[in-house]
Symmetry: C2
């Protein structure tokens, strides 16, 4: 989880076609502890908006392009006005410049705006990241939890917004609480028909038989920016990566398994539903060194 | 949809066991157009909280007890601190007293609060309601849309929060947009295994063979406060009501079908996926006269 915000700026959303190179006059820094949003905000009333969490290391924001592109994709799935990507890139840069040293997180939020209002509401925050060094070293125990959907639900029913990173995260948070109640650190979502999908806030990657695989990003799964980065890294080392339909059995019998995400980065799955899993501490450390480097 | 808020008060949540009779000093009226919430609010960041919308007619709030009880039930499902019901009843009364004449809506919101903060954030708003007189007279055309889940998902997987009225309503809103794209006014959610559940913001009631039926409120469906009121009314008239597992075919062949909710009240379903449905304008009008009367 993030630490309290230290810096925030309100963004007056520009039209996607606005050709300006400098959007500085659309940013308004605010006091993060002061009231900034009205109770008419649809983000608060209905979780109606989209977001991104970007890892920042010593002021450098990582994977910015993948994050702003996914923000635009999520906005499209939610019928929100297309964000101006140049404006959002600049907002990330400004927020990252105000982030504390070490590991930090820049969060982008694009809300549908105030009810009956003319435009979306948008803002970015910067805060120190939680210290995840222990879990990066020791890994996480996960429990498998039913996502309720079958594997085809996302493609069949795009109004379920399974491919969008929306502000409606109550279920993701409830799933993490259930995992902790069961004595685990995290959860692995499983479809009704027995396939593994992702964790509530992370993607799954397996190493098996010399190949790295992750569940195919269909409409039912969020395409992980960190997973894409890890794949680029592995491929640059000449390793084979791919997408597949995976079962719990595939996870249990993998040579190693990780949950990867933008802030916690790569953590080994050390147990699934109480059964220990093989892991690869050297490769985990190597992946995290890569993920902490400027990209 | 609601109109812009006209009145709002922030509620400092009291402990559920607080025995006070007067909570007036825990209410702070605010300017609804002014900033009131910080960007650290988990309602905005993750749709992490619960809510209720209460119908108000000429200053009288209807079904208050059912709504505050459901708020408490939703809070429990979301592991939020139990609300003090006396405090919330009083908040409803204060907000309703400030609601405009005619039909209005009082909305209650209980958020998990500011990230890493000590307590939930809570507020109530009052606003004029949209004029639904035309749709109450003419009814709505619905399309059936896949909810992705099977009928047992809610009971099997309580972390999906299907029985809680959470602020994570992005999917409900996307479903209504999809219905409108398809030329309909509203949607009827159908399970993966072919059963009808509810509309994104309303409950379904059918009249068939002299009996009124609604889908059984399992963990997979929100128990509608208006549906309960309608059942009480029908029973007081000596009519038979019940709960059942219902299919689309049951809707298509019903003598009449309604969507019922706290603000729009009872509206006839006049078509399902383009096929006209029988309706009962006299009973619809009677139900709405009852629902508009003080209860």
């Amino acid at each position: 989880m993030d630490m309290p915000q230290r810096y925030a700026l309100i963004i007056a959303p520009a039209d996607a076609a606005d050709p300006r190179e400098d959007f500085a006059d659309t940013f308004t820094p605010i006091d993060v502890t002061a009231p900034a949003l009205s109770v008419g905000e649809l983000s608060t009333q209905r979780g109606d908006g989209v977001f991104e969490s970007i890892g920042v290391v010593d002021g450098h924001a990582n994977e910015v392009e993948a994050h702003v592109q996914r923000l635009a994709h999520s906005a499209e799935l939610c019928d929100l006005p297309a964000p101006n990507l140049a404006q959002w890139r600049q907002a990330v840069a400004v927020a990252a410049a105000h982030a504390p040293a070490g590991e930090a997180v820049v969060k982008l939020i694009l809300s549908r705006g105030v009810e009956h209002g003319p435009t979306p509401t948008a803002w970015a925050t910067a805060a120190a990241a939680t210290d995840f060094s222990t879990v990066r070293r020791d890994g996480v125990r996960v429990v498998t939890l039913d996502r309720g959907y079958d594997l085809g639900a996302g493609e069949r029913a795009p109004w379920l917004l399974l491919g969008a990173k929306t502000l409606s995260y109550a279920v993701n948070m409830a799933t993490l609480r259930e995992a902790r109640r069961r004595g685990a650190d995290d959860a692995l979502y499983v479809t009704r028909d027995g396939y593994v999908l992702e964790a509530p806030t992370a993607s799954l990657i397996l190493h098996r038989g010399g190949e790295f695989v992750t569940p195919a990003p269909s409409g039912g799964i969020l395409h992980g920016t960190t997973q894409l980065s890890v794949y680029e890294y592995l491929e640059s080392r000449g390793l084979t990566t791919g997408y597949a339909t995976l079962t719990i059995e595939d996870v249990m019998t993998a040579d190693a398994a990780w949950l990867v995400s933008s802030i916690r980065l790569a953590v080994a799955i050390t147990a699934v539903d109480g059964t220990p899993l093989a892991s690869d501490p050297a490769l985990t450390a190597e992946l995290n060194r890569f993920l902490l480097s400027p990209r």
